[in-house]
Symmetry: C2
Subunit: 285 residues, 2 copies
């Protein structure tokens, strides 16, 4: 209280005279162990279903169980964001743009979320959402003995998440996810649904070039309800920079029908005013 009493108007910086001395003598001796991990909900669309990348854990805990890819943040060497990019590359073999496609979702800290708490280690995780179009089939990598895309709808998320909240485990018939990953994945899905409304995120789900119908199918798949085709087209084309026309190309659609005009991603990131679902998350009541 005495030494740097006049600090108020001077601005910060931890490099004060007295404080430098304090730091020199500081030892973080008695901190009980927290572990910091990242978990990734990597989403894509395959055969008209929203799919998530899951790995089969090669190590304890939840060995041989299905889980979101992720891993430990390297102490002192990186942030959670950097760890997420690194894990993503390790898991998928792809390089990734950080700010564009990786979105910090939420941090999960409940002491009961990891069984290692019983041994005195509290493991907390920062969850991220990533989107992908056209990812190759995943390769099993470090600490995973298998990896595959799972349709999110097949995972019985709501029941799993509820079961987790109630009793800390789940015994249904769908693949059970390790830790609280069902909760994380449910939150991730809701985040993506919401972001489709007010961002151009949907274009990340489709390989270029794409038709307006392709883009509309993204909304249909993620929202679970189809926007009216004519109005959807009007909206997308009326937002400057949502999509830009691509030179006519050759594509062979399955059956007949008029071939669609093709587009690429535009430079816009926001959609304003937003596209609205019928039943958004919040609700009015």
């Amino acid at each position: 209280v005495t030494a740097s009493g006049g600090r108020t108007g001077r601005g910060g910086g931890a490099g004060g005279d007295e404080e430098a001395g304090w730091l020199a003598g500081y030892r973080p001796a008695d901190f009980p162990p927290f572990a910091l991990t990242v978990d990734l909900a990597i989403l894509t669309i395959r055969s008209r279903s929203l799919c998530v990348l899951l790995i089969r854990r090669g190590e304890h805990p939840y060995r041989a169980g299905w889980a979101l890819p992720g891993g430990h943040v390297r102490h002192g060497a990186e942030s959670a964001e950097q760890a997420a990019v690194r894990e993503l590359r390790e898991e998928t073999g792809l390089t990734w743009a950080v700010d564009t496609d990786l979105d910090q979702l939420r941090t999960y800290t409940d002491p009961r979320r990891d069984p290692r708490m019983a041994a005195g280690l509290q493991v907390i995780t920062v969850a991220f959402v990533a989107l992908a179009a056209d990812l190759p089939d995943p390769v099993a990598a470090t600490d995973a003995d298998a990896a595959r895309w799972w349709p999110v709808d097949d995972l019985d998320l709501d029941r799993q998440a509820t079961a987790w909240a109630d009793q800390g485990r789940y015994d249904g018939t769908a693949p059970g996810l390790a830790f609280d990953h069902a909760v994380i994945l449910r939150d991730a899905r809701e985040r993506v649904r919401a972001k489709l409304e007010y961002t151009t995120l949907a274009t990340r789900f489709v390989p270029e070039p794409f038709s307006i119908s392709d883009l509309r199918r993204v909304y249909t798949t993620v929202w679970g309800q189809e926007p009216e085709p004519a109005n959807f087209r009007r909206k997308v084309l009326s937002v400057p920079g949502f999509v830009v026309p691509a030179p006519a190309a050759h594509r062979a659609p399955g059956g007949g029908g008029r071939p669609p005009a093709l587009y690429r991603r535009g430079s816009a990131t926001g959609v304003h005013p937003p596209l609205l679902r019928e039943t958004p998350g919040g609700g009015t009541g």
Copy 2:
């Protein structure tokens, strides 16, 4: 890979036979120390300014510097959310509803964000936003030798946050915030601005009963731009459950003018379709 190979379709739970044995022998011996803290951006409106509760730190690091209230999560005993509620009560002396008024903002993990990293301790923080109407003047409590409300606009946030990102410190004339708290506070302000659009959050900023003008002043203050009064009224009253009429009461406004009708908070949480600012965060370019 062998022991519980058939786990896939059986659902999770870390209580498997083999895994119980592993856990019994597990010791988290060699985990380098992470510390987990929470920081709170507690916002209110005072004399037509958006204000944040800051404390003057009584302990190192950044001793005697201004900072967001917060503290360590108790290892093994609580989640970040529970710690936030506890700290909030300790700092303000008020009980608080968790889900309603405390919102997890983001987690900050950059190794450079806390000087104790130099001593080998990586401190990460989960930031929360809380809103308040009618909070009493704060009392200095544990590990804080002073606490007061600061108008957010007086804190030179943008310059502080930029300076922090560039060089890890800030030397301007406004009160400098400890750690990366200028960044956190800027994120918090943007979160609140956005939430006013699609939630009934604004009612949390005004003491009951309130007039439509009181509510409009919240938007004016937080957004920095005034919604058109007539249209604003129409919108608020057209959303069911946004506000409910309160029985006529006695109030003495400063000057003359027709006395306003008074309302209380309704039960609705979402506003759909949303109220829109002119220049939202995302932007179209």
